[in-house]
Symmetry: C2
């Protein structure tokens, strides 16, 4: 639990430093991306964010979306997820938590499961690495897809 406290402190420090340095500007594009990401419970791809933000800022470009997502995740204001599949996804929630992805429809949900940070120490004992972090991802069939007919019947 102490580890999580450190993490929160570090995140706050990063935010303060980003603001203090005075180099981060609050543009409407950046603000809207952040707002929309905070609203969403899903974990959209860059392109999905583009389509959503475009409704409010029709002239925004996909390049700006990518640059901001990269910048915001680098600043610790959002989280970049590199899950199975071809595209990266983004999460407005910064706190460390695990995800599960539906193999049928592709939706990604948060898991209410405590992070098993102790496992990092276990890994240090079986390899010579300095272990920094781990990523734990689950895959399965979501409730909606489960209630529909199985593939081999359809």
């Amino acid at each position: 639990m102490t580890r999580d406290v450190y993490l929160v402190i570090i995140i706050i420090m990063v935010k303060v430093l980003v603001n203090m340095s005075g180099k981060m500007r609050e543009t409407s594009q950046r603000r809207v991306i952040l707002e929309e990401l905070a609203k969403l419970k899903t974990h959209p791809t860059a392109n999905e964010i583009y389509e959503i933000v475009r409704k409010r800022l029709p002239r925004i470009s996909l390049g700006t979306i990518y640059r901001n997502l990269e910048f915001l995740s680098g600043s610790g204001l959002i989280q970049k997820l590199e899950l199975a599949g071809t595209q990266k996804r983004f999460d407005g929630t910064v706190a460390n938590h695990y995800h599960i992805k539906c193999v049928k429809c592709g939706r990604v949900d948060d898991l209410d499961l405590p992070a098993i940070n102790l496992i990092n120490d276990t890994v240090i004992t079986v390899c010579d690495y300095e272990v920094l972090w781990h990523r734990l991802e689950f895959a399965g069939v979501c409730p909606e897809c489960r209630s529909s007919k199985p593939d081999y019947i359809q």
Copy 2:
């Protein structure tokens, strides 16, 4: 442990079925890819495999490499890894095991850590998914990179 036994049986069955169906042909390209992958302890990308196989089969194309890697991992003869980063990696070892990736040089090593399959059952209790599998990936600094000077000195 019983679960792993089932897994091994299933893998063998898949191999048998693949051979029985008589639809899989043993081409020199496919055989060499499989041979080279079995030799390697690293977890190469499609392009790295291409460069290695090309030494033995100079006329092979990258498309063939991709098609075979897809086919072989679909048949359970090799493993496709979708770790952090942009490229997929391939593992000649089929048995389920975890990996650690160096954040500096990008190399991927196997971890001698038992698979925590019980966690799937835990996840079922906190969400409505039918949990199929999980992926646990570590990141850190490998021994070689650790012994070199830190970034901010160089």
